[in-house]
């Protein structure tokens, strides 16, 4: 095992893991809760996106140790992730635009 890297980025303890788990559970309960409470329906989508984004970040930062680990790993994961996000937005724009604008007018 590579001593060097082990010592440099010591991993969090079980304690931290448990606390993160607790937050994750709370966030999930919130998500499902928000889903069932009619009051939230107008803002359902943004709220859900924020909540799941928070869960995503927590897992990646703590369980996958990106917070403490080498920046190289952050780059290897983050750059494609960013790319993926941009691609998704572009695809939604291009395809939904094309389908609704043209499909509606469409024959065939």
């Amino acid at each position: 095992m590579n001593e060097h890297s082990q010592n440099e980025h010591s991993h969090p303890t079980a304690d931290v893991y448990l606390r993160v788990a607790a937050v994750l559970v709370i966030l999930t309960v919130l998500e499902v809760g928000v889903f069932y409470v009619p009051v939230f329906h107008p803002v359902l989508v943004p709220v859900l996106l924020v909540l799941s984004g928070a869960k995503f970040t927590l897992v990646v930062m703590f369980y996958m140790h990106l917070k403490a680990d080498s920046r190289v790993f952050t780059f290897l994961f983050g750059a494609p992730l960013l790319l993926a996000a941009v691609v998704m937005v572009a695809l939604l724009f291009l395809l939904l635009g094309a389908l609704t604008l043209r499909g509606a007018a469409g024959a065939g």
Binding site: H11, A14, Y17, A21
Partner: protein, 196 residues
């Protein structure tokens, strides 16, 4: 897997474990894979010309339990890693096995869900919702299956005494994969199940 660990003993220019680095690159690559699947799901949302439609069929309480199950498996996974890193192989084995078990439970849930959907008339051939839903969640399920197989392999190795503290990196990499699969589910759960 276990033996390649010695690769890390060599000099590396970034002082990082090569396998771990390769794995992060792999996960980066997987981001694009799941993005393509999720984008397709979103693009085709509401485009099915016949039912059943998502709101008629998706079972939120059931899937919430699955989601919770997968989250807990992630917790087991980090606990397993922490145990192996301390050299506590007794707990290491227990946590590894529980992770795999929770993974199996998730897969079981998916089997039940799929079967129910088929009974309700939703198959891959039914409509666009069926196509995109089954291929997206099926791809995720396939990832979980690979993860379970992998975890069980590690567990058996641990039982044989061949997985030790020296192989903590192997467990860490397994964890990376497992957590990534969990993270993907977090997105799927929100995008497919909650945002309808």
């Amino acid at each position: 897997m276990t033996h390649a660990a010695s690769a890390a003993a060599h000099h590396t220019s970034l002082g990082l474990d090569s396998r771990k680095m390769a794995f992060w690159a792999f996960i980066g690559s997987e981001c694009l894979l799941f993005t393509s699947l999720i984008s397709t799901y979103l693009v085709y949302k509401g485009k099915s010309v016949v039912g059943p439609y998502p709101h008629e069929i998706l079972n939120i309480p059931f899937t919430s339990v699955s989601t919770f199950d997968l989250l807990m498996s992630s917790l087991m996974m980090v606990l397993a890693l922490a145990a192996v890193q301390r050299g506590d192989m007794r707990w290491g084995k227990i946590w590894l096995f529980s992770t795999a078990l929770l993974g199996l439970v998730f897969l079981g849930g998916q089997v039940i869900e799929f079967t129910e959907f088929v009974h309700k008339g939703l198959t891959l051939q039914t409509n666009l919702f069926g196509c995109t839903f089954f291929v997206l969640t099926g791809t995720h399920g396939a990832h979980v299956s690979v993860g379970v197989l992998w975890l069980l392999t590690l567990w058996v190795r641990a039982l044989q005494g061949k997985l030790t503290q020296a192989n903590a990196m192997t467990v860490e990499i397994t964890g990376l994969y497992w957590h990534f699969v969990d993270v993907v589910w977090i997105v799927i759960f929100t995008v497919v199940y909650l945002i309808q």
